[in-house]
């Protein structure tokens, strides 16, 4: 019998299943993992240090680029912390808009995760399906902020502007037939809210489609059931949050337990797993998409019936309206001060966390009374999850590493910061 030798295997940093730039040093016994040592930081940009050198508002776009598949949830965590320090009460309409877009973001993230996870494990089709729906949701991002991904839509004191009355439409072009354009514009006749409402009607059917492809699929189950099992006790020890802790059977969701924005006014359930394996986490995330859809429906209804301001009236943090600026001296001064110096945040420290799609995304800001944060610490959920890589893969086969990376839903923008 041939002697089996131990290998050290370099996985990444350039590997299609590494979800970005992850270098994994694997110590293998044959094809079994003995130790996994993730080397992160290849995407470290020093976001926190950069933010210390910029006025508070200038760092909002950086937040989009942390976890670049759940952009607005990151913004929410950041502006929420500043609002806490300033003691600002955000208008109710802005809170509902934030909930609406947080949930759109959650679906965006989970679709990306579902597609990529399935692709890693060997199912191609889901990826294409998921991107079809992502396209619609990206259009919602674009309609409110002008950017499909890096929106910078949430501002301290509310959101940048109210939802548009008209959804952008496809126009005539030589690459598309008239029939195709008409079909694509079907749902875009009304406002953005009409478009989202139409999406929420269609979306449960789409989730059923993904589920027919995966949930009872024999190969899918063989690859996920019993892989990367985390007990509730270990999940707490390892600092897991979000779907990772819920997959292990702990019903912990900040939207319910420590409600922020308008989450205490909407109805939804928290899905919980029972075995703590990758398959349970898959089921949790799929159900979360259904619940997000439910929340979106309620938000759309509320927003249709309740017009109002979307930004606080305090000219010290929110720019005055353009028209007012033209003939009011005070407004002009406020505008000038706000865009040259920014606003000062009173001395103190605050931590505010949101339930981002991946888990608890929190910002800890220390302010010394200046117009820039003294220290910004970003608590990224993926960082704690990635740290558990060694424990979750130990004793599994090499091919399962890919499944575990997939089930952790890691994005290196937020882990490396």
């Amino acid at each position: 019998m041939a002697e089996i030798r131990n290998y050290t295997l370099n996985f990444g940093p350039q590997h299609p299943a590494a979800h970005g730039v992850l270098r994994l040093v694997l110590e293998m016994d044959g094809e079994v993992i003995e130790r996994a040592d993730p080397h992160v930081g290849l995407l470290h940009r020093g976001t926190e240090k950069l933010a210390e050198h910029k006025p508070f508002n200038h760092s909002i776009p950086y937040m989009d680029r942390l976890d670049y598949v759940s952009m607005m949830c990151n913004e929410h965590g950041y502006v929420g912390t500043i609002e806490k320090l300033l003691g600002i009460e955000v208008p109710e309409r802005a809170q509902y808009i934030r909930v609406l877009f947080d949930e759109i973001t959650r679906i965006l993230n989970h679709l990306m995760w579902l597609g990529a996870h399935a692709l890693d494990v060997g199912a191609m089709t889901v990826f294409l399906y998921a991107f079809r729906e992502r396209e619609d949701l990206m259009d919602c991002y674009e309609a409110v902020s002008g950017a499909r991904m890096h929106a910078a839509y949430y501002r301290v004191g509310g959101v940048y502007r109210d939802l548009p009355d008209q959804m952008p439409r496809y126009t005539k072009e030589h690459l598309r037939s008239e029939k195709d354009i008409k079909y694509r514009n079907q749902a875009r006749e009304g406002s953005l809210l009409d478009f989202i409402e139409d999406f929420t009607e269609r979306f449960p059917g789409y989730i059923d489609e993904y589920e027919t492809l995966l949930t009872d699929n024999r190969i899918w189950k063989q690859r996920l059931v019993g892989i990367g099992v985390v007990t509730p006790e270990r999940a707490r020890q390892l600092g897991f949050t979000g779907p990772m802790i819920r997959g292990s059977g702990i019903a912990w969701d900040l939207r319910k337990k420590q409600p922020y924005a308008a989450y205490d006014k909407v109805d939804f359930d928290i899905p919980v797993g029972s075995n703590g394996d990758s398959y349970d986490r898959y089921l949790v995330r799929v159900e979360e998409m259904r619940q997000s859809n439910r929340i979106m429906k309620q938000c759309v209804e509320w927003l249709k019936n309740n017009p109002g301001p979307v930004m606080v009236g305090d000219p010290k943090v929110a720019p005055p309206p353009r028209e007012k600026m033209k003939d009011d001296m005070e407004a002009l001064i406020h505008h000038f001060k706000l865009f040259t110096e920014g606003y000062n945040v009173p001395e103190g420290e605050a931590y505010f966390a949101v339930e981002a799609p991946k888990g608890e995304f929190g910002c800890y800001i220390i302010s010394d009374g200046a117009n820039k944060p003294y220290r910004l610490k970003i608590r990224a959920p993926g960082f704690a999850h990635m740290a558990a890589m060694d424990e979750m893969t130990r004793g599994h086969m090499l091919a399962d590493v890919v499944a575990v990376i997939g089930t952790m839903d890691v994005v290196f923008g937020e882990i490396d910061r």
Binding site: G41, Q237, P346, K377, A387
Partner: protein, 239 residues
């Protein structure tokens, strides 16, 4: 139970279990958040108590981070005298660090109790010359990478950490980049050298720019019922 009530309970638990055994621990409450400042030597027993005593029940260590207080309150533009003297044209670009050697660094732990649904911030101050504190990885395994990060970025040492390596910076990186005396543009830049056929590191050639100066203003604008004009009149009246 509302957040206020939960924090009241936590405060009561502090009075019951901390006040006698650890009289040097100070807690304070601001913005509906509880902060506990622990002397460096008592960190481990206090943390152990916070985790295992069911009145606290902090099962999760959500975050550990380092803080460098070396430039705290420093303003690149003097806004205090400006009404009398006028603003200078440019911002001060020098890296200014003034600190008390005893408490330059701090390690901040964010704990979460799932059972009581309450958060706690624990702070330990460390000195400038030898910032070292006991590692809490034995109490919460999640602290492992967070402590590595604080070591990497601030040079804070964690006594008893199983694997204190750099985590975010490059292999062979020199210095601790998040310290306030480390310039934003860094110390070295790298490029590909054709002759040598490899990447070389050189001292940075770019200059640090300040686009918007850092200004600390004490204009009390967010304090309720506070009127600086009246206060000044009062002060003058008092003499």
């Amino acid at each position: 139970m509302s957040l206020e009530e939960r924090l009241d309970d936590l405060e009561e638990a502090f009075e019951d279990y901390l006040e006698e055994d650890f009289p040097d621990c100070k807690w304070s409450r601001a913005l509906n958040e509880m902060t506990l400042v622990v002397p460096r030597g008592q960190l481990l027993p206090v943390m152990q108590l916070l985790r295992s005593n069911s009145n606290f029940g902090f099962e999760q260590c959500i975050d550990v981070c380092g803080v460098d207080y070396a430039a705290y309150g420093h303003s690149e533009w003097n806004a205090e005298d400006a009404p009398n003297t006028g603003f200078s044209r440019g911002a001060e670009r020098e890296l200014v660090t003034e600190f008390e050697a005893e408490s330059r660094f701090a390690v901040v732990y964010h704990l979460l109790s799932l059972a009581h649904n309450v958060r706690l911030r624990v702070k330990v101050f460390l000195d400038a010359d030898y910032p070292m504190v006991d590692s809490v990885t034995g109490i919460w395994n999640s602290a492992n990478w967070f402590e590595r990060e604080a070591f990497d970025l601030f040079g804070i040492l964690f006594n008893g950490h199983p694997d204190l390596r750099r985590i975010l910076t490059d292999y062979g990186f020199i210095g601790h980049p998040f310290r306030k005396d480390f310039p934003l543009v860094g110390q070295v830049e790298m490029r590909y050298d054709e002759d040598k056929g490899r990447v070389v590191y050189e001292p940075v050639s770019i200059e640090q720019r300040t686009l918007v100066p850092r200004v600390v203003r004490n204009d009390y604008r967010y304090e309720e019922g506070c009127d600086p004009v009246k206060e000044e009149e009062q002060e003058q009246a008092d003499g």
